[in-house]
Structures are given as C-alpha cells and as structure tokens.
Amino acid sequence: MNRESANGKEKLGFIVNPLAGIGGRVGLKGSDGLDTVKKAFDLGAVPFSPARATEALKGLSLIKGEIDLITYPFEMGEDEARECSFAPVVLGSIVPGETTAADTKRAAQEMAELGVNLLLFVGGDGTARDIYEAVGDRVPVLGIPAGVKIHSSVYAVSPRRAAELVKEFLRGRAPVCEMEVMDIDEDQFRQGRVSARLYGYLSVPFERRLVQGAKVGSSGASESTKAIAEHVVDLMRDDHYYILGPGTTVKAVGDELGIDKTLLGVDLVHRKQLVGKDLNEEQLLALITGKNTKIVVTVIGGQGYIFGRGNQQISPRVVREVGKDNLIVVSTQRKLVSLNGPLLVDTGDYELDESLSGYIRVITGYNEESVWKVEY
C-alpha cells in the first residue's frame, strides 16, 4: 500500500458520524438504529458531532498545507472540512440526511485502500465498532469523542487534543498501541443493565502526556507487558489451572507461554498448555470445578473495569468457584495511572462486587506490584 502521496504529503482520512451523540442529550442512551435516530429528532435533538469535528480541524489549520485531507461527502466530513478552509479530497457518495453505519464502513474501507497514514473519526463506540469492522488494525485510527457511549479506549481527550496528537503522529512522534473497541448492548442499557462486549482492537496513537517528554518508542509499552508476562509465567504451578481473560496484557502471557491465546476470548491453560479456547461460563465451570484454579485478568476499556466489561464469561459463579483470593490482576503502570481513578468491578452480583472492592495488588512488572483501589 502506497503511503506516500505523489506530492510528498501525509494522507489524513477524516470521517464524521453526523448522528453520533444524537440520543444523548435527549436521554436515549445511544444512537444506534434509524428508529432511535427518528425518536431523537422528534424529541428535539440537535446534531452534536459537527461542532466537535470543526473544533478538531481548526487545531490542524497550521499543517493544512502539509496534509491531504481525505473525507466523505457532505455531513460525513466534507462540510466541516470546507468550513475550516481545507481543500479536501472527497471520496464515495452518500444520501445526505440519511447516512447509516454502512456509509461509515465504506468510507473507512476506501480510505484504507487509498493508503491513509491515519484515520480520524468523530463519533462514539458505535462508530468505532463500524470502523473496526471495516479496517481492523490495518490503519492507525484515532477517535474524537462525540458519542453517548464512550467505553472504548480509542479516543483523544478532546477535539483540540486530538488535533495535537494527529500532528505528533504525523511527525513520527506518537507511538501506537492496541486499544479496545467496546460496545454496549443498547437494548440492555435502556433496561438498566450494562452489558459491554469487547469487539476488537484498533491501532491507536496515544498521548504521551503521562510519559516524560523525550521518551518516545512504542517498545516502552511492550517491554513492560513482557516483564509482566514473564513474572506471571514464572509463578505458574503445574497443579493449577489458569483462566486467562481477554486483553493485550493477558495475551502477552499467552505469547510468553508460546500458546495461541485469543485476544478477545477467555482461554484455559494447564501445565503451560492450552486446554480450552474462547470458553463461555458453562464450559469454564465444567473444566475447573473442584480444581485449583487462578484467574488472570486485566483492565478492559477506557473506564477501568476488571470484571463486567468484555469478560462476562468469567461470571460470578466462576469467580466464586475459583475464590477471590485466587485472582491475578495484571496491568502496565501506565494504564493504571492513566485511569486517574479506581479500578471497577461490575459482575452483576452485588455481594461479589462488594467483596472484590477495597485495595488490591496488581502485577505491574517483573517482581513488581502496585496497590490500587477497586470500587463497584
């Protein structure tokens, strides 16, 4: 894929979901589906994402001449681009006023094929999910938060910060990291239940605000996850079973063991061998009941959950069977500090959540742990 334009400029893909966040202001807890959108407009909702989009583009005005902004027609990016005096390359076609997820996916696909250096989108978890389905981790992606559901870790702090991060990235000074794409089941959410699924991982540039100035290098993150993985493996006992939850840090444990650990699923390991892959609650219970077992989990999503988001297979029954003293929580120190708050648990079992709360030890390196607060 040719990432260098003929004119030597960087290619920046730009997708706006004009309906992102529509449901939020009128209390609809999400904006998925034409019915919900119509309901939102009936309730007097006003589009939220265009303003976020222009705010971000304004932050990029200084480098206008150095980039080719590649976008989709009308309200999917072209309008905002022209408003901010960019001369965008406009791909594809849409029916104005009637855009859907399919348009987002097509846009992302076409921009990936064109070889954009970075794909910038304005939207929420739903939009992130659509982009993930279209491009996976082929292209670096950065989100400008404009949705109701923002549980994924793929967003910049704000539109202005997104612009700064884009500039850093295009200068080769922002490392990329795999970040979770989450989506909350909206029907469940409206009924008062939060059920978040871990959809996948996007490749996202991250802000170095919590890493001192000169220290760049994507090796930083992978070095510490490797150290964590080595420590966990060194602690493993042959007479124990190990439930390995989803997430990149736990995947690193799998890599250290030399097994093909699923990134999104829950696997079971015994004597350093994979004995079960992508297991659900029943399968887990069948395999571990009565056995000495430990659970290895990490933080999933941007909110700090160690149970209840993306790993519901490790259900309250599973946790009780294993015993809460047999939990191994792993995370890089950087991730913990970036939460700027406690770890969270939401297993659905209130008593269990209460018993898991307090202060726990998290493995943050080789022979290194951090004490962190857990709340429910």
Binding site: G59, L62, S158, R160, R161, A163, E164, G172, R173, R209, L210, V211, Q212, G213, A214, K215, V216, G217, Q333, R334, V337, N340, G341, G358, Y359, I360, R361, T364, N367, E368, E369, S370, V371, W372, K373
Partner: protein, 529 residues
C-alpha cells in the same frame, strides 16, 4: 528537528523568532568532536629527556610496571597543541548553562543551593588534596576528626546513632540501606521477607534499589485528593513478607504525608524496617528527625541540603544513618574515636562490606563540615525556613500566571511543589516539554518535570532552596509569565523553541536506539569499519 531539517517556511519563522529580545543569547560554536580536530604530529608539551646520570641511577622505569599491565600500543589520543586544547574545551563550556552562570530554580528535587567557593578552596588545600588514601591512620588524624565531627552532627540532625559516608550518591545510599535491611532479616533467620514497599512520589531509587537488591517492590500511589498514600492502601501492601518500607519524606511533590507515623507503626508491627530517604531534608532540617518518628535507617544527600556541589554524576555522597541495632551491618570502615585517637574500623563481621573505594569522598565530608560550621545551629534552622518561604512565594507567584495549575492545591508544600501545565496545553497546545525548551531562551536552565511514573500531566517541579535572592525568584516567575503569554498569543514561538541557544532542537529518538548511538569515539570508528 534541527535547523537543518526545518522547511523553508519554518526556517524563516525561526529566524524571526530569534530576533525576539529575551535578555540572553548563547554563544554558538560549531565545535567538532576533539578527535576531528586532531592533526598528526601536533604536540603539546615536549617533556625533555632526563640527563644520563639520572637515567643510569634510576634504570628502566617501565620495568616497575607489571608486564601484564603494560600497553602494547600507545593510546590513540587526539593530537593537538596546548592552545587548541584550551580553546576547544573553553568553547564547549561557553555553550553550557551551569549553576555559576544562571538561575537553577527549575531543578526540583535536586536542592540546588549555592556551594560557597571558600569550601572549594579548603578542599584544594594540599593537606587534603595531596593525601594518599592508603596513608596510615596516624598521618590522617585531621581528616578523620572532620569525618567524625560530621558524623556527630549528622546524628544530631537525624536522630540516628551511627553514620557512614561510604555511599557515593543518594541512590547508592538507598541501595546500601536495602542491603542492610536484607542483612538484618537474614541475621534473624527471616528468609521469607522479600518485599519492600514504596510509593510513586518518592524518588524512584526507592523502588529501583530494593529491586536491584533482590526484593519484590510494592508500589503505592498518592491519593488524588489528599496527596497522601492512605493507611488502607498501606495496610493492603503490608504482610508477613514485608522486609521494609522505603519512603521519601517529604515527598518530591512537597507534600508531607500526614499519616506517616501510622505507616511506620504498621510496618514495625508486621516486623519490617522503615527507611526514610531524606533527600528533601532542606524543607524540614532541625524540625524533623527521622529517628524521632521511628525510622530505622535513613540517608542524607550531602550534595543537596549540605551544599557540597552536585557532581553531575561525579563525587557525591549519600550519607546513611542507622539506629544502634543496625550499626553492625554498616559498610566498612566506620570512623571511631577512643577519646584520644581516631580510627577506621574495618572489623564489623556482619557488615554489608565495602560499597565504595577507600573510606568515602573526603572532599565532600570537608565541605559539608565547613558549611555546617559556617551556618551554625541557628543558620541551619533558618536555611529550612528560607527554603520553605521561598518555595511558597514561588508557588503564589506562579499560580497567578495563566495556564499554570498545581497538584494537590489544598495541601501545604514544604521545599518544593509539582505544578501542571495541563490547562495551558488544553488551551494553547503548548505542553511542558515545549515550555521547558523556551525558557532556556531566557538564559535559565530547564526545569525538572517529574520522575517516572508521571502521575501529574504536563508536570513542572521547581525548587527554590534557601540561597536564592528575591530578584532571582522574580526573574524566574517573569520568564514563566512571558512564555505563558507567548503560548496564548503565538504558540509557534514556544513550540519551535529554542531560538537563542547554542543548538536548535535535537531529536531524542535515536538516543534510545542502541543501533543509532555510540558513547565513545572508538565505538564510533568500529561501527563505521
């Protein structure tokens, strides 16, 4: 991006920014590496040959050097004349901002107080500078007396019972203390104690050193609201595996943990030892004694509170202090006095052995001794007061500047404080690393941001210390005010700084790639072979 990599437009802008008057313009020499100045046959002094009579009496001098130590080939030194060497190093020094040429208020946690020149002169006296470290004890009684007196005063200031000035720096002192902890537990047959607890706003050596000494490190973090660790968190870290707690008090954030007395009690009850890193002693000197609040070990940085010069990784001293029951584990030798003579005692069978060559950095001992003598008890008390007053004046003034905030605003700060440029970054795009480069255009050293882990975003950690003038403080504040204003009016000036320094910008990325960096000329030649 160095000036060579700027685009045409950027370069023109840079030339514009260079014209902005800041009261400083660095000397700019395009000075090569000295090897590149070498010209075959250039010579410095030509040492004349000794006369025949002397040569025949002395014989072959080289034969005194053991055969296996003799060079086969002469060293490949660069060939220059004396004036060329003089010029080269002088030019390099002209391009460097140092303590003697500018304000160092920005360097938090370092305690950059003034090192009186008279103490440097004392250290250069031949009675000290020409002494051989292996000379017999009875020829160095004066030096040992100074070391012993210093030891007495350090005990008095810390509330500890014995000192060693063997460790060559603060981290070295913390490492020695971690080794003493290990030796203590081992001597009691307590092998299962393999964990040391520390916190993220202590100096990171409080984590790194016990880790190097073989301990597992349990890291605690300051509470977002209070700035303290919190007793609940500490209790979650303490167990029967706890060998000890290693904390810096007050923290590098200037906060003195309000529950530290409780932590010490809890750790002691669990059978662990407590070591206090007193690098920040400048804020509490004569008002807090580590020994009084229950510490079993501690250390002072003589090159911080006690004014001996910061060596830039040169001769520093981390003086470690211990309670009586840990004395037997101290590194040897320990200086002792029997009422009439001073001795170097090497006979401590349970010692953690030598941690440095000979018996310490004697020059530092002398300078610290001289400084304490000159200050006197009242002066020491005032020094701490001034350190805290100056810091709080700085805090008040800096917080009047747009875009600057402070961590834990509700907590009192002692010797220093951690500020944040998060608001500035949000509103202008200018963050702490940009800001830090621009202030050097005003002729002051860069400030210290933060140790890892970086908990406060876009951090700034200055430390005024006791030896700054109000004019210095006001100038430092004025510079911050100017740069903040620049950030709001034309952020390009700050983001492409520096403009008035010897070098424009360096790309730090290659420094982290061993494939792209060498540290010696010989390695460079090898790489290009």
């Amino acid at each position: 991006m160095t000036t060579e990599t700027l685009t045409h437009g950027e370069y023109d802008k840079h030339r514009e920014y260079e014209q902005i008057e800041t009261g400083y313009q660095a000397v700019r020499w395009h000075e090569p590496v000295i090897y590149e100045l070498s010209r075959k046959g250039s010579r410095n002094q030509i040492v004349p040959e000794a006369e025949e009579e002397i040569r025949s009496k002395v014989g072959d001098v080289v034969s005194h050097i053991p055969e296996q130590m003799r060079r086969e080939n002469p060293p490949e030194l660069p060939e220059l004349s004396e004036p060329e060497i003089m010029r080269h190093y002088l030019r390099l020094s002209q391009q460097t901002l140092g303590f003697d040429s500018g304000i160092s208020i920005g360097l938090g946690t370092c305690t950059m107080k003034y090192s009186p020149k008279v103490n440097d002169q004392l250290a250069r006296l031949p009675q000290l500078s020409e002494v051989h470290p292996l000379q017999p004890e009875d020829t160095i009684q004066g030096i040992l007396e100074i070391m012993y007196e210093l030891r007495n005063w350090l005990c008095e200031l810390s509330g500890m019972d014995e000192f060693s000035i063997q460790p060559r720096g603060g981290s070295h002192g913390v490492y020695a203390n971690a080794c003493i902890m290990r030796a203590y537990h081992r001597s009691r047959g307590d092998a299962k104690r393999d964990e040391v607890i520390t916190c993220a706003v202590s100096h990171p050596c409080n984590a790194g050193c016990p880790s190097t000494a073989g301990f597992k490190v349990i890291q605690l973090y300051p509470d977002k609201e209070t700035g303290d660790i919190g007793l609940q968190a500490l209790k979650a870290a303490v167990s029967e595996r706890t060998a000890g707690l290693m904390l810096t008090a007050p923290y590098d954030t200037g906060v003195f943990d309000s529950e530290i007395g409780e932590y010490i009690k809890v750790v002691h009850e669990a059978g662990g030892l407590v070591s206090l890193d007193q690098a920040n002693f400048n804020g509490v000197m004569t008002r807090l004694r580590a020994g009084d609040i229950g510490a079993d070990l501690m250390h002072f940085n003589l090159h911080k509170t006690f004014s001996t010069p910061h060596g830039s990784c040169g001769p520093a001293t981390g003086a470690i202090g211990v309670k009586q029951e840990l004395r037997k584990f101290l590194p040897v030798p320990v200086v002792e006095f029997d009422g009439s003579r001073y001795h170097l005692n090497y006979d401590l069978p349970q010692s953690i052995e030598k941690v440095g060559s000979f018996y310490g950095v004697v020059m530092n001992a002398l300078k610290a001794y001289a400084w304490i003598m000159a200050m006197g008890a009242r002066g020491l008390r005032e020094a701490a007061e001034w350190a805290v007053i100056n810091n709080n004046y700085l805090i008040k003034k800096l917080l009047e500047i747009r875009g600057i905030g402070i961590a834990w605003p509700n907590r009192g700060k002692l010797q220093e404080a951690r500020f944040t440029l998060e608001k500035l970054k949000e509103e202008t795009g200018v963050g702490t690393s940009d800001f830090n480069l621009r202030i050097t255009d005003y002729g002051v050293q860069s400030y210290f941001e933060s140790h890892e882990p970086v908990i406060i975003p876009e951090p700034v950690t200055p430390e005024a210390s006791d030896t700054v003038s109000k004019e210095d403080l006001d100038r430092f504040v004025e510079i911050f005010r100017r740069v903040s204003e620049e950030a709001y009016t034309d952020p390009g000036i700050v983001k492409t700084a520096p403009h008035r320094c010897a070098i424009h910008q360096t790309d730090p990325e290659p420094l982290h790639d061993p494939k792209k960096t060498v540290t010696t000329w010989r390695a460079r030649l090898k790489k290009h072979e």
